[in-house]
């Protein structure tokens, strides 16, 4: 009897252990997968996935990228790999700290919409571009890395797109995108300070919302 109980307990602990192990693997696996990705691979994947969505966007030929394609780019590619709160604080510069946590939440949401649109459009500059990845120079211990790419189309000007990435707990995240020398993120700093001087943080949020509501 006692034997049987002991066996049962043993079996249970074993099951528990096994279950724990599986759980641990499940939790850890995505992190491992993310950590295995170098910043270069990360950018290659992002660019290829975005270009793939753009290529499949049939309306692009006539009217520019569609809202559906932008939403897809956002959900599938950018949301997991872009650090939008860092981007917003970088874009606002010293004004960021003037915003309350609720305002910061609203700002991130609106700024994200704006950035996703701008970035998606930047990758549609050329119809069928080749992306050239420049060799990246960084140490294994670096937590911030710059990855340079060139968007090429024969006969026209090459467009440089540089990405700044930071190493976070769940892998490398993009926090700045520089197109032809212009940061899609920090190019709003002057605008934000002027806007906040005139209408406060609320004014800046309203302008962003108004901009995002235009088709």
């Amino acid at each position: 009897m006692i034997d049987a109980i002991e066996k049962k307990i043993n079996k249970e602990t074993m099951m528990n252990r096994l279950f724990g192990l599986i759980l641990a693997l499940l939790v850890a696996a995505p992190t491992w997968a993310a950590e295995a990705l170098t910043p270069e691979t990360q950018i290659k994947n992002i660019t290829n996935e975005v270009l793939e969505i753009i290529r499949n966007d049939t309306e692009l030929q006539q009217n520019g990228i569609t809202a559906t394609a932008i939403a897809m780019i956002d959900a599938k590619v950018l949301q997991p790999h872009f650090n939008f709160s860092h981007m917003t604080s970088l874009g606002m510069g010293k004004e960021w700290r003037k915003a309350s946590p609720e305002q910061q939440g609203l700002l991130v949401r609106e700024f994200k919409t704006l950035l996703v649109r701008t970035y998606s459009n930047a990758l549609t500059i050329y119809k069928d571009p080749t992306i050239n990845f420049k060799p990246a120079r960084y140490q294994p211990t670096d937590t911030e890395v710059l990855i340079r790419t060139q968007v090429l189309q024969p006969g026209t000007k090459t467009v440089d797109i540089d990405y700044s990435l930071e190493k976070l707990g769940d892998g490398w995240k993009v926090f700045d995108v520089v197109v032809a020398g212009v940061s899609l993120v920090t190019n709003y700093r002057q605008f934000f300070s002027q806007e906040i001087r005139n209408g406060g943080i609320e004014g800046a949020i309203k302008s962003l919302q108004a901009k995002n509501q235009t088709p």
Partner: protein, 240 residues
């Protein structure tokens, strides 16, 4: 014929010089006080003027050009002007002490002018000699001259005080202005500018998507881009 052209040139010089002379006394009416843009009031009106000119004349022409000229010819035209421009880029790189870059620019001109049939094909890029982007505004920047105030010039558009002086140096050294007769020279310059404007058409979508206030978006983009170019794509990070 040369006189009419130099008169044309000196008119530009006169306009730019007048602006540079009188604008410092012109205080911006609103007290917004952007440190880079003290002449915002003037700049905004010049910006609307340029936008209007682009809307009614230059952009429609560029669109027409793009619709009429087949892509291969368009590429040939772009390459031809790029090849001539590479000469001035080589000179500027040399003046900035970048001997290797300058030699590569000259190499490009030699290769593209011979193998590339008088510059109609850009063979050098494929051989790993990248095209650079240099002008006198950047050279002056490299020599230590600061931007000075932001300034929107009629027709030429975004500049800074330093880059306006750069433009004043670029213009007379532009090989296209040496072409004889004058009529041909003007036609070549018109074709080049049209081709350049047409190449910009697809990038407008990005500005449209990103700009909340087009004037300040383009101004800040210009200032950032110039900084990026002066540092040859490696500007130190600006914090706050």
């Amino acid at each position: 014929m040369t006189t009419s052209r130099s008169r044309f040139h000196s008119r530009f010089v006169l306009i730019i010089a007048t602006l540079l002379l009188f604008l410092p006394g012109y205080a911006s009416a609103n007290g917004d006080g952007n440190q880079h843009d003290p002449w915002e009031g003037f700049n905004r009106s010049m910006f609307s003027f340029n936008e209007g000119l682009d809307r009614v004349l230059i952009k429609p022409l560029a669109k027409g050009y793009e619709a009429v000229v087949p892509t291969p010819i368009n590429n040939i035209i772009t390459n031809f002007f790029n090849n001539i421009e590479d000469l001035m880029i080589a000179a500027n790189n040399l003046l900035q002490g970048k001997v290797k870059a300058s030699a590569s620019d000259l190499g490009r001109v030699v290769l593209n002018s011979t193998l590339g049939i008088a510059g109609l094909v850009d063979v050098a890029t494929g051989m790993g000699m990248e095209k650079h982007e240099e002008d006198f505004g950047q050279t002056f920047g490299r020599w230590g001259f600061g931007n000075g105030a932001y300034l929107v010039l009629p027709v030429f558009g975004s500049r800074t005080v330093r880059d306006s002086f750069g433009l004043l140096t670029d213009l007379p050294l532009d090989p296209m202005t040496w072409v004889e007769p004058t009529g041909l020279s003007y036609s070549m310059i018109t074709l080049r500018q049209l081709d350049a404007r047409a190449d910009l058409l697809p990038t407008e979508k990005v500005v449209e998507a990103g700009a909340i206030d087009k004037y300040s978006y383009l101004r800040d983009a210009y200032l950032q881009q110039r900084r990026y170019l002066i540092y040859d794509g490696q500007p130190p990070r600006e914090d706050d």
